[in-house]
């Protein structure tokens, strides 16, 4: 995990003109997040269970980012304090990362299905 973070920081430093998490072309037509650039260097299997044809699982996210409740968000940007997506009153630990986050495309979080004015696409 430490290696991951180190590479992550390096990746950020090298791409100072783009924000971490921005969607850019990674491989061919496949888009990906700038902070994940280093993962693509080893192909798709880092997230996709050994083959790009297989789906990615939460464990791939958790390995570097940690469990959902421990991942900080910029709370100054929340519509209200209770709108904390990593401490959701509706789901808390019961939400998959994939419910809100798309690696290869922009996605509106599951919260936006009801709270239409609180969250944008990410």
């Amino acid at each position: 995990m430490n290696k991951c973070i180190l590479t992550l920081l390096l990746g950020l430093a090298l791409s100072s003109s783009v924000y971490a998490g921005d969607l850019v072309k990674m491989k061919g037509k496949t888009q990906g997040r700038t902070n994940h650039e280093f993962i693509y260097q080893d192909g798709c299997q880092g997230c996709h269970q050994g083959s790009g044809k297989k789906n990615a699982k939460d464990t791939a996210c958790v390995e570097c980012h940690g469990e959902i409740n421990s991942i900080p968000v910029d709370e100054s940007k929340l519509a209200i304090p209770e709108a904390h997506p990593h401490k959701s009153l509706h789901y808390n630990q019961g939400a998959s990362c994939l419910a809100c986050h798309g690696e290869h495309e922009k996605k509106a979080p599951v919260c936006a299905e009801c709270h239409r004015t609180w969250f944008g696409e990410m």
Binding site: H90, Y91, Q93
Partner: protein
Amino acid sequence: MHNRRNFLKLSAGAAIGGMAVAMPATSFAKECKEIQWDESHDVIVVGSGFAGLSAALNTKRQGVGSVLVLEKMQVIGGNSAINGGWLAIPKNPIQLAQGIKDDSPEELVKDQIISGRGMQNEAALRQIANRALDAYELCIGTGVKFRDGFNIQVGGHNKARAIRTQHGTGGDITTKLYEAGVKEGVEYRLQHYIEDFIMDGQTIVGLKVRKNYRFPDIKTGSTVYIKANKAVILANGGFARNMKLREMVDPSLDPTLDCTNALGATGEVTLTAMAHGALPVHMNLIQTGHWGSPDEGGFGWSNALLSIGWHQGAAISVLNGKRFMDERADRKTCSEAIMKNRYPDNSPAYPVVLFNYEKYKDDDRVVRALRDKMAWKLDSLDEIASKFNIPAAELKRTISEYNGHVNARKDPLFNRKMDTAEVLTGPYVVSRIWPKVHYCMGGLKTDLGARVIDGRSMSPINKLYAIGEATGGVHGEARLSSTSCLECLAMGIVVSETIKSDAQA
């Protein structure tokens, strides 16, 4: 994990009934098919709302073996996670502390019989009401917090017996039941879609499951076979989000009505059960919540806001500025009255509900409604008339007359109980209302032990159980508010007891 093999002779003859014609593809025609089980569990629960989570935790606690919960969406909780967090519990501690000593399970059943209009299952309602305190204890025991001192009378109930979770959402319950289940060894999986049941005659032996499914694309994921040694519990909820099915079973349902439910409430597991002989009842009885707002998505704030409005305010037609219903009547009565408000082209003329701002301005139900712009603070009746295009003179006459009825504590127009009504002086909180499709009274017929009934033999399908909104015939024509959560939690307890007893038989 292809280590479990099972050779089944699947009987085609028993399953090809008339009912199967319009049903989803099933596997019962594959005679002598060799099922290669990918894994096996003692109990499989389908769905992770109140019913599924209660059933999973309680079955685990009964000690009948391994319990696996399958949820097709990417979050745990189903529609329950976004519900309003109301729970009817006769004799709950808050009610008793309020000095209400004359409530009982039987009093609740009495209300439900009136609301069910002769179509309800009285024995099932009584069983659920009798387990209400067990359901309450299940919540308290897993760390669910309810609002201090809060216990009120909601539509159609003759007593104040509805308590509410701390944050006003069922998520306060689903998150706790889920986290307790994880601690106690229940296994939960997201993105697992039930493709079919694997039957051996009138016994369910397992499930054909699409894992890594991504709603709503049925082509995603891959198929696995999961064996169920002792039980499959269907807790897949209702089908209010299945527009095709909704229209087929109730053509009178206005297709423009929005829905309160989570997107996954599409009912395909219920259809699969039907294809295997399960008897559906009351499928056309679909409830609209009369407390919806056209100015927000999903279940929203409107229901809670109107818990003030129905009591301390008045509902007004924008067409003529008059009241048009007993604001405290049950859902069906109010829904029908509200939906009569139409412009000549039949489009909705959303009525408004208004109550006094000053007394409730710091109430969370008001603060968030104003903040998220699904309600407005307006200073005068003229402002209200102008904003919502209501005849001003008629509106003023109506409110003046209404205030007289409040003072007299008597409503000669609609016979509303006026004990909580307040003289309306302004400034006002005003919101628009229009029903939303909310709940399916219909579903799979079960016996009192939650065993699913086969419509051909009129006897239980072995090892197949159903609880919660997936079942039908419990509430009859109209379910009372705050009773679904109760039903789901209580039946999760009941089904665990049935399974323990069936497994020993």
